[in-house]
């Protein structure tokens, strides 16, 4: 019940295209849904995050779509650029009861995105 399932495992898009990565979760207690971006040799870095009280959040070229009833959320990268080539992880965490719960992230398996010039 703690799993977060992510797809696809890898994705290749052309420069200027739209990259879409999907995640599904099982635990309805999850309350915070971030996306992390990881470049080779680096730690994950927060890209964008959403809470279940909204269905969409946009920051620049990055958009999270959230479907609470389906327990799914997705990342859309518009106008994908070669510099976006990285591994993307969706994640989820329970409510911030006790102070550190937001940091107890359950990660998806990751999607390796390659954007060709």
């Amino acid at each position: 019940q703690q799993q977060v399932k992510q797809s696809p495992q890898s994705l290749i898009v052309q420069k200027g295209g739209i990259s879409i990565i999907n995640c599904a979760y099982e635990n309805t207690a999850f309350d915070y849904f971030p996306w992390y971006q990881q470049f080779p040799g680096k730690g994950p870095a927060l890209l964008i995050a959403i809470r279940p009280d909204v269905s969409e959040k946009k920051e620049g070229r990055f958009t999270i779509s959230f479907n609470k009833s389906a327990k799914q959320f997705s990342l859309h990268i518009m106008d994908s650029q070669p510099g976006d080539s990285a591994t993307y992880f969706c994640a989820a965490s329970p409510p911030n009861a006790g102070g550190t719960s937001y940091g107890k992230l359950t990660f998806g398996q990751g999607t390796i995105l390659t954007v060709h010039p």
Binding site: A45, A49, F89, N96, Y102, T106, F107
Partner: protein
């Protein structure tokens, strides 16, 4: 820009040896975490730490693991007797206390290879 720093970047050890991985969290952060990533697999939560004690730990974090904040800046992960399956990238992370926005700042990781 403040960052989480980890040392060593890579450590090779023999099975059964003790290993200490070190982290310097961002200075005004009060919540600290360790995660690990086995090669090709997802990032997994190990432990969270606040106010000098463990807040939560996963089933991975058994008696072989311990964490400590020995001074005002370092946060360490000790593996008492390493096993082959402990080979992984270990990430330290920290986050702000007030408000807890949910954003974790990760270090670049310490790669542990157990032979």
């Amino acid at each position: 820009e403040p960052e989480v720093t980890q040392t060593p970047s890579h450590q090779v050890t023999q099975m059964g040896q003790e290993v200490i991985l070190r982290c310097v969290p961002i200075s005004n952060h009060l919540y600290f975490y360790w995660y690990r990533q086995i090669l090709g697999q997802k990032v997994e939560f190990l432990v969270s730490f606040y106010n000098n004690e463990i807040s939560e730990k996963s089933e991975i974090f058994d008696d072989q693991f311990s964490v400590e904040r020995p001074d005002g800046s370092n946060f360490t992960l000790k593996i008492r007797s390493t096993k082959l399956e402990d080979s992984a990238m270990y990430f330290c992370a920290s986050s702000e206390a007030r408000p807890h926005t949910g954003e974790l700042f990760f270090g670049e990781g310490s790669r542990l290879t157990v032979l």
